[in-house]
């Protein structure tokens, strides 16, 4: 994730079922997987790696709540500055302020979600990691295991057994 260069082993898979099997074997052999690459999101990968749904939605909730508060406070503050009665309507009327609050809710919600996405994914990143292969955005899956020299052979064996098309040493 962080650090654009790490030593380890990279396996490239053309088929999804091979990849999933390899992941299961790596898990059962106790080899920690650093990164799995795929051209599309796959829930099977998330399940095998035991990951829970993304926490981005909490940021959204915070953003949305902040938004409605911000919208209504802004409108109320502005109206309290001059206290005009316009069109016979009360100075602070919740009925139109609902609209302002609502729009701000969506705006802040979206901004916070985007922020959370970028923050959690460590984007934007200037340099791609040295274990990235351009085919991963095409039609290949990949597994990168960050390991020391002693582990290399074992990892290479597991990957090769499960149908890895290529296995690279990354230094």
């Amino acid at each position: 994730m962080s650090g654009a260069s790490k030593p380890g082993i990279l396996g490239i898979f053309p088929y999804l079922d091979d990849l999933l099997r390899a992941l299961k074997h790596l898990k059962s052999s106790g080899i920690p997987v650093h990164t799995v690459f795929s051209p599309t999101p796959r829930h099977e990968i998330q399940e095998i790696l035991g990951l829970k749904p993304s926490p981005v939605r909490f940021f959204t909730l915070v953003g949305g709540t902040l938004g409605v508060a911000a919208g209504i406070s802004l409108a109320s503050y502005a109206h309290l500055q001059w206290e005009f009665v316009t069109g016979g309507k009360p100075v602070l009327a919740w009925i139109p302020f609902v609209i302002v609050g609502f729009e701000f809710t969506i705006l802040f919600g979206v901004l916070f979600t985007l922020g959370a996405l970028l923050f959690k994914s460590r984007l934007p990143k200037l340099r791609l990691p040295n274990y990235y292969d351009p085919r991963f955005s095409g039609d290949r899956f990949g597994v990168f295991v960050s390991c020391s020299d002693s582990e290399r052979e074992r990892t290479r064996k597991v990957l090769k057994e499960n149908g890895a098309e290529e296995v690279h040493d990354v230094v």
């Binding site: 309507k89 009925i95 609902v98």
Partner: protein, 415 residues
């Protein structure tokens, strides 16, 4: 090939379809008969005497609530057909059962004729300029015709859906899927959009004639749509209620899964928001324009001492609470929680119809909610439930003749 994917039949013999005379306990049927008799008795007893106004009000509220709900359920079936949706197929028959009330509502409509003097203020005080539209014969003729046409289309749709199931009532094994060309499916697909259009037009007419005209000087262009969208919302809640309540007794646990509750819950959330949005659209425009002929209706309902609490109750029960709880994925998957939520929504929407109808008619000081209203509501509920039960007992609980249901089964959705 099909039998291996079909949920296994443990007794391995064709046995009674869930439903039939099993599944639905006898005492429940008796219970609803009691409701009906009680309601009818109180109604007939009240209309002669001093409680006439209350009786007719209660009748009207229940009529518009249950009729709208029933047609809304049929609309759900029509929408499933039009969108070729596969997810909702197991719910189709349950939704159709809620539509069984439709022919009864046609009969109940004509009873309103006898109460027209208590219900429609413009009979005693005709409104100048509107007499050509607001007069009793024309109103009953057009609404009766509309109800007739809409009911007819609904029943035709239901008939086509049930047709091919005749010879397999009582069986739940894979050989039940009929083979060969399926003209009844094509007819359902043809009838569904026709029903959809008629639903919008006829229910709008009901709303304008039976509810909006109770205050003949008031108007709102969105009112018709508000009524039929609210009815659809109630219908979704009712389908959810029936699915949650009936899945175990009717033996449908293998077909109606938590993810169906999740999907139905999402739909319910969507329509909660839409109904709320329609309410707000009317409220904002009327508030902002501040025209007395429009605001009188709203002010009466949200400011006057009698009605203000009802307005807040409706807002909380029908919109606020469902909105909050339906956001959570976990809650949507628990049938018991959804049952409670659906009940809340149904209660809230009933009160909403109460709020639309009663303040226009009730001029006394005390709040008109007592034995009369409860009994008549119970009576309607009894009739409605009996229609549903009758349907569920007579017809197979899963839409075997529906090709999309077959697609769902063969797609391994129910392993």
């Amino acid at each position: 090939m099909m039998s291996s994917e079909f949920p296994s039949n443990p007794k391995n013999q064709p046995e009674e379809t869930p439903g039939g005379s099993t599944g639905i306990p006898r005492w429940l049927i008796v219970f609803f008969w009691v409701f009906f008799v009680l309601g009818a008795a109180v109604f007939i007893g009240s209309v002669g005497g001093s409680q006439s106004q209350r009786a007719w009000q209660a009748y009207l509220i229940n009529f518009v609530f249950f009729t709208g709900l029933s047609f809304g359920a049929v609309l759900f079936v029509a929408v499933l057909n039009m969108t070729n949706a596969v997810w909702g197929r197991p719910l189709k028959r349950l939704a159709e059962s809620l539509g069984a009330f439709v022919p009864v509502s046609f009969v109940l409509f004509w009873v309103l004729y006898f109460g027209k003097d208590w219900i429609f203020p413009w009979i005693a005080h005709p409104v100048q300029g509107k007499e050509v539209w607001l007069n009793a014969p024309f109103l009953f003729a057009r609404n009766g015709l509309g109800l007739f046409v809409l009911s007819g289309t609904a029943l035709a749709l239901l008939h086509q859906s049930l047709r091919r199931g005749e010879n397999i009532t009582g069986q739940m094994n894979p050989a039940a899927f009929p083979e060969g060309p399926n003209p009844s499916w094509r007819r359902q697909v043809l009838l569904s959009p026709i029903f959809g259009i008629l639903y919008a037009v006829v229910l709008s007419l009901f709303a304008f004639d039976l509810i909006m005209s109770l205050d003949p000087h008031w108007l709102s262009t969105l009112f018709g749509a508000y009524y039929f969208i609210g009815s659809f919302y109630s219908a979704l809640a009712a389908i959810l209620f029936l699915a949650a309540l009936g899945r175990k007794p009717l033996g449908l646990e293998k077909f109606i899964l938590p993810r169906h509750f999740h999907d139905l819950g999402k739909l319910l959330l969507g329509f909660c928001l839409i109904t709320g949005d329609f309410f707000y659209s009317q409220f904002l425009v009327i508030w902002y324009g501040n025209l007395p002929e429009e605001t009188r209706y709203v002010i009466l309902r949200v400011r006057e001492t009698n009605w203000e609490p009802v307005a807040w109750t409706v807002l909380i029960l029908s919109f606020a609470i469902p909105f909050v709880f339906l956001l959570s994925q976990k809650i949507k998957m628990i049938p018991a929680a959804m049952l409670a939520l659906a009940a809340l929504i149904l209660g809230g929407m009933w009160l909403e119809r109460f709020l639309l109808v009663v303040p226009s008619l009730w001029k006394e000081n005390f709040f008109p909610f007592g034995v009369v209203e409860i009994a008549i509501t119970a009576g309607f509920l009894g009739v409605f439930a009996l229609c549903v039960i009758f349907f569920l007992q007579k017809f197979p609980l899963l839409p075997f003749s529906d090709p999309l249901f077959r697609k769902a089964i063969e797609g391994g959705d129910y392993e």
